[in-house]
C-alpha cells in the first residue's frame, strides 16, 4: 500500500491536520485553499450519497480514480478523516479507525493544550501520525 497524504477536518469545516508522505503532484494553490476544496468535495459526496441511497446506510467510504483511492471515515463526534492511497489498498477502514483510537484520542483529546475546533499544532501528534502510518503493515 502506498499512502499519499492524510487530511483531518471537523464537521464545521475546520482544516485540523494535514500530512503528506508520497505526494508527487503538488496543487497550485495555498494549503488552506486546498483544505477548503477537499472539505467541500467530501461534504458534497456525502450529501449526494445520502440523497441517492436506496436505504438508510448511506455512508460514503471511498472513491477510486485510475491513479489513486480516497478513503474516508467519519466519527460520530464529527471528525472527518481522509486518506489517499494507491488504488488497490485494502484494510484502510480499520487503519483509520485505529489511527483515531490510538493516535488522535491519545495525543489530541488527552492533550489539554489542543483545543477542539482549532488546527492541531502539536508536533508530537504529527510525529505519532507519521510513525503510525509508516508502521502500518502494508506501508511501503
Amino acid at each position: 500500500m502506498v499512502v499519499y497524504n492524510i487530511y483531518i477536518f471537523d464537521n464545521h469545516g475546520t482544516f485540523l491536520f494535514y500530512s503528506e508522505y508520497k505526494r508527487v503532484k503538488k496543487a497550485e494553490m495555498s494549503h488552506s485553499e486546498e483544505g477548503k476544496l477537499m472539505y467541500g468535495l467530501l461534504y458534497s459526496l456525502k450529501s449526494m450519497c445520502q440523497k441517492l441511497s436506496s436505504n438508510d446506510s448511506s455512508a460514503f467510504n471511498c472513491y477510486r480514480t485510475n491513479k489513486y483511492k480516497l478513503n474516508y471515515m467519519e466519527t460520530p463526534s464529527g471528525l472527518w478523516f481522509a486518506l489517499n492511497t494507491d488504488v488497490n489498498a485494502n484494510g484502510v477502514k480499520e487503519l483509520l479507525q485505529s489511527l483515531y483510537q490510538q493516535v488522535y484520542v491519545e495525543f489530541v483529546v488527552k492533550n489539554p493544550e489542543c483545543e477542539r475546533g482549532k488546527p492541531i499544532e502539536s508536533a508530537l501528534f504529527k510525529h505519532e501520525v507519521d510513525e503510525f502510518i509508516r508502521r502500518s503493515p502494508q506501508f511501503r
Binding site: G13, P76, S77, Q102, Y104, E106, N111
Partner: protein, 180 residues
Amino acid sequence: MSRQTNKLADSKKVNNELFTLTYGALVAQMLKDHENCEEVNKQLERMGYSIGQRLIEDFLARTNCARCADLRDTADKIQSAFKMYLTMSPSITNWSTSGDEFSLVFDSNPLTEFVELPDSYSTMLKYCSIIPGIIRGALEMVQMEVMCWFVQDTLRGDPSTELRIRMVKKMEDAIPVGEN
C-alpha cells in the same frame, strides 16, 4: 506532555477513593473561592461540560459505536459509559410519554462516598453538578442538545439519586460559510 511508552490505549484502573477525594477537594476549594452555592454549581457544570467534550472521543474510540438512532439508544449508551468510567450501573426509568425524557437512578455514587453536606449547604449545593455537565458536553459533540439535572439526591436525604435527561433538539452539521 510525557511520552507514553505504552502505545496501546489501555484503560488504567484507578482507585475509586482517590478520585472521590480529589473531587471532594475540588468542591471544597470552590466553596472557599465563591462562597455562593449557585456559582459553585454553575462552575462545576461548566467544568463537566469541558470534560464531556473530550471524554466522548475516548468513549467512541473504545466502544466503536455509531451515532444514536433514538433517545432510547442514547440512554443505553450513557448507561454503558457510566459503567466504563465510574463503575456504576444506573437504571433507566421514568420515560415521559413523548419519549423525550428519561431518568437515570443510581443506587450508589462513587462521587459521594464519605461525603456529608453541612446543613448550611444541604439545600443549595448540587454536589454532583459535574455529571450533568459531562453528559451535556458529550452529547453536544454527537449533535444532541439535552438538558440534564438532578431530581433527587441521597446527599439531601432523598431515598435515591435520580438524574433527569431531556432531549431539546437534534443539531445539524453546519455548512461552512464560503468566501466569495
